[in-house]
Symmetry: C2
Subunit: 642 residues, 2 copies
Amino acid sequence: MTKKKPKKEKKEFKVNFLPFDASVEVQPGTSLLDAVKTADLPLKTTCGGKGTCGDCVVQIISGAYHSKQSAALSDKLASQGFALACQTEVTDNITAQLPRFRELAIQSIVDSKFFEEQKDNISGIYEIDPPVKKIELDLAPPTLEDNYSDLKRISRALQKKLSLKKLGCEYSVLKKLAHAVRKDQGKISVILFMARNEATIIDAVPQSEEKKLYGIACDVGTTTVALHLVNLRSGKIEKTVSSLNQQITGGEDIISRINYAQKPEGLRKLHELIILTVNNLIEMASGAAQISPSDIYYASLSGNTTMFHLLLNLEPRYIREEPYVPTFNEVPSILSRNLGLKMNNEGRIHCAPAVGSYVGGDITAGLLCTPLLQDSKKISLFIDAGTNGELVVGNKDWLVTCACSAGPAFEGSGIKCGMPASEGAIEEVKMADSGELEYKVIGGTKPKGICGSGLVDLLAELFIHGYIDRHGKYDEEKAGEKIVEVEEEKGFLVEEDKNSYWGKNLIITENDISNLIRTKGAVFSACSLLLKNVGLSFDKIDSFYIAGGFGQHLKIENAIRIGLLPDLERAKFHYLGNSSLLGAYLILLSDKNKALAEEVAQKMTYIELNTEPNYMNEFTGALFLPHTDIKLFPSVKTVQRS
Amino acid sequence: MTKKKPKKEKKEFKVNFLPFDASVEVQPGTSLLDAVKTADLPLKTTCGGKGTCGDCVVQIISGAYHSKQSAALSDKLASQGFALACQTEVTDNITAQLPRFRELAIQSIVDSKFFEEQKDNISGIYEIDPPVKKIELDLAPPTLEDNYSDLKRISRALQKKLSLKKLGCEYSVLKKLAHAVRKDQGKISVILFMARNEATIIDAVPQSEEKKLYGIACDVGTTTVALHLVNLRSGKIEKTVSSLNQQITGGEDIISRINYAQKPEGLRKLHELIILTVNNLIEMASGAAQISPSDIYYASLSGNTTMFHLLLNLEPRYIREEPYVPTFNEVPSILSRNLGLKMNNEGRIHCAPAVGSYVGGDITAGLLCTPLLQDSKKISLFIDAGTNGELVVGNKDWLVTCACSAGPAFEGSGIKCGMPASEGAIEEVKMADSGELEYKVIGGTKPKGICGSGLVDLLAELFIHGYIDRHGKYDEEKAGEKIVEVEEEKGFLVEEDKNSYWGKNLIITENDISNLIRTKGAVFSACSLLLKNVGLSFDKIDSFYIAGGFGQHLKIENAIRIGLLPDLERAKFHYLGNSSLLGAYLILLSDKNKALAEEVAQKMTYIELNTEPNYMNEFTGALFLPHTDIKLFPSVKTVQRS
């Protein structure tokens, strides 16, 4: 009655994927795209593996392979070892680099001079007083009359420098204390983690071992994860890196991720993917800054509530089940080793406090980057147009917030030639009356794709020049030869294959435009409804703060032209960039900002828009350029032909 | 040039040792004693493997073996599977039980009624208010209007019951919170670890999962480790177990252990042995009480400074190098999982505070069991005669302490028929004028050996009846046929082989007596010197408190007769038993006792006796029965012949 196991087919070739250091074994002749899928790694394909979209381009670092020629990849790139994964058969042990991550890793998202310019104009304070501190001590030599323990001697010396109510010491530090105290005759550096006047010793080394003190601020976004590596003594941002959230294989928005987590091993997998994402970023940043990850003692994270649950390996399902109760909104600091983050083993992790299931720590952190919390008279509106959109209206005394499912279009996801704001992305577009496009590429290279700010520009230019109508459909007569057919869809040719980085046409299709319109419509209608809920109209708002993954430069004028923002005095608008990351950085620098974020989280009132009867009406009205009700946008002039 | 590895000899049989669950592979014909040595497990042998002492008796649970007949083991026991390890050849896969541990595991060391009788007469308070608490909450169901996070809901409910300044939550608890909160519709039990008005949630379960709350108090002695398993809700001691400290393979006293720790892997080995010892005790106690080790959330440990360093895997060498600076005297609570103790993973471990390298947490804990710390008028002397002897003189207002190397003789170690105070130990001995011995055995079995109190009695009786002289040498004429020759030494036959449990003669040799005299001499001379140091004589002391591993009943009269204690009014003496264990129990029950122990540790002044010029004089004088200066013991009358 013994059941015979089916004989396992022999797998012959090993495929290793960088930068993940993940590998799979596959049979000869397997397509590289299938190998990527088997390894459960993220690689975009729009055409479904037909070799036409060119999205799945990878670079083969080593090993033999057989690749079909394809119009979507230039011969030049092919000769440099680039290949379309869907058109490549594995015929050897192969090491392949998945390109999106490599490229994203080196970009700078935030101008580190931000604080020099903004620091007097934000609610958070710019003060370099992080809770992790390095203190140098010179312990007097022990004698028979004064032979207190090592720990006590350190405690006495610390008390002379700091007025501590309580001093703890991690077990791992105890183990090295005897050596650390004696190596340099009592000259010792201790690393303290402080909470008000209580401290815990989390490291101790002899002073001859030079000890660096670093921290990270990290925005754990649904689509993009961005990280600052910060010198905690100077406050300087040493490196900024970002990448796609590798959880993207588990779905593009938070609802898909929560559903994915319900599958067997789904939660563990998503947890491991986000840890992998952050660890890759830490490794890249610390490698570039030539420090060891063990020099990183503190991490300040911002992100939405679902991302935090997945990061902490916590069941997220109740976030989407009424009445939407998450496990935590605020949580005491967590040890890095509990999560397996590549930091010092005694490193502490702080998660920015959330308001609830749909307004997370990214928003409380983001508000620190605005003057909104300082002013009792003026009323401000804060909009974070990420994959999930969140809005806050109010001032120092009151705050009301809501969320909407915007979608990741402005982060370049779900758009054929979309990409995050990294090297090679078109970030600005201008159309001459002749129809000629001028654009600016991040890093000055040939264009690889278009990021959020470029997409807003492009949509606005197409619209005001009459190339698309109010529904976002192309006027073929007007656009003429610029309109091409791609995969049974009409598209506008932004750049020809020969001028693009990957040697493929950069095209924006009607479907892309429709995605962009849905996203801007969701944000605008949520703004509108939120204000109606608090009894205000747009003109009562004194300042608009816009955050999101658009890129460094969002043109307000164009955001108004497409109806993403209301048609008001331009001086009221302020574009913040990735305020979630900046807020995490502020919290990293000082516990005063941490306390302010907690206060904000406590204070905010959350409104559930999905249960609003007017929601669908408002949303549908916003699915036009700029809006169904054109009177709302008097300044938007277009070349519409009747 | 490749060096050929010598061919590894094939090892054929596996020998498994209980209760350690340790095993080794040996070649056929290897002696079982060698197998024990290979496994680095403790097994006493006095005759060095000649088959004459009978100390290395083990029980073969399974497997075939070949054992030579020996006078040191009765045929009856041999037929029951008992065998002398040194006389047994391994001829099969074998499972053998090392007996000392098995036997020691079931004894009760401390009368759990102690507190009923003593509680008003000790410095520690008898209050059942441990820092680990189980709180039952009934959370109101969440609604869309009140959909705070699970953690916040728990926090709110706790605040209604306790006035907390700060509430933390362990990461492992976060992971199970969603389930625990929802399983019984908000009816949840949380386990808190509290320090004043700050609490950390260390566990959370739905109320339908009945959650037990236990703690352990453990005296980590150099020779013996003793443990109470305590119900933390009632304060009741459910089980008491003890065993030899398995580090005994690394030497009998703390100096040998510190030296052993300097060997390669020595520290790790000693650390693992003490953890194994405590884990075995936890397993036995929790098995007997039918609870799971994961129900144990708190451990209060007492022990000397060296034992604590080895337990925590900390370098102990500076304890014995001038100026004797340990890594710690007091340490914040340590997580059980850091040490690998068999408790709940979030369990907390408290180490009783030490005064210095040679006066440890066993002494501060022990003082809680005396009224010494409550009285400003009377002066008391506290003596803990363990493997290391410690003394304290003083009262509520001042305390002076010192240490001496007493040796483990009163714990039964280094004495041929010595054993700890467990089942089968002779604990009381009386000699009639005829020379007949009457004795009492713990558990009422045939005697296996003699414990500390029995040894004190025996030594006193032999002395006052003139069987030994003031040097501890036998008077053969007087003792007659009771004196036997054993391994080229003279010994007094306490019990014949046929009447003893292991079927071997119970004999006390001149060497044994010499060990006992050295031990009592070390304690007495230390007392004497300590008092001289503070300018007091014995008659100025109002109370003497004696602690140690003698067993339950130490006869003060006999302790004076042998010169262990000074010859003063008998009513001044109080025998405490294992005060270190009792003190650990008091600290387990209430943080007020923990605070008192800390205060005591701060207050005590340590005197280094080894540097005293009079030390050797005092010690040599005490190496007689009862003392060189017989005038110090006027009440001790002996039948000495001229």
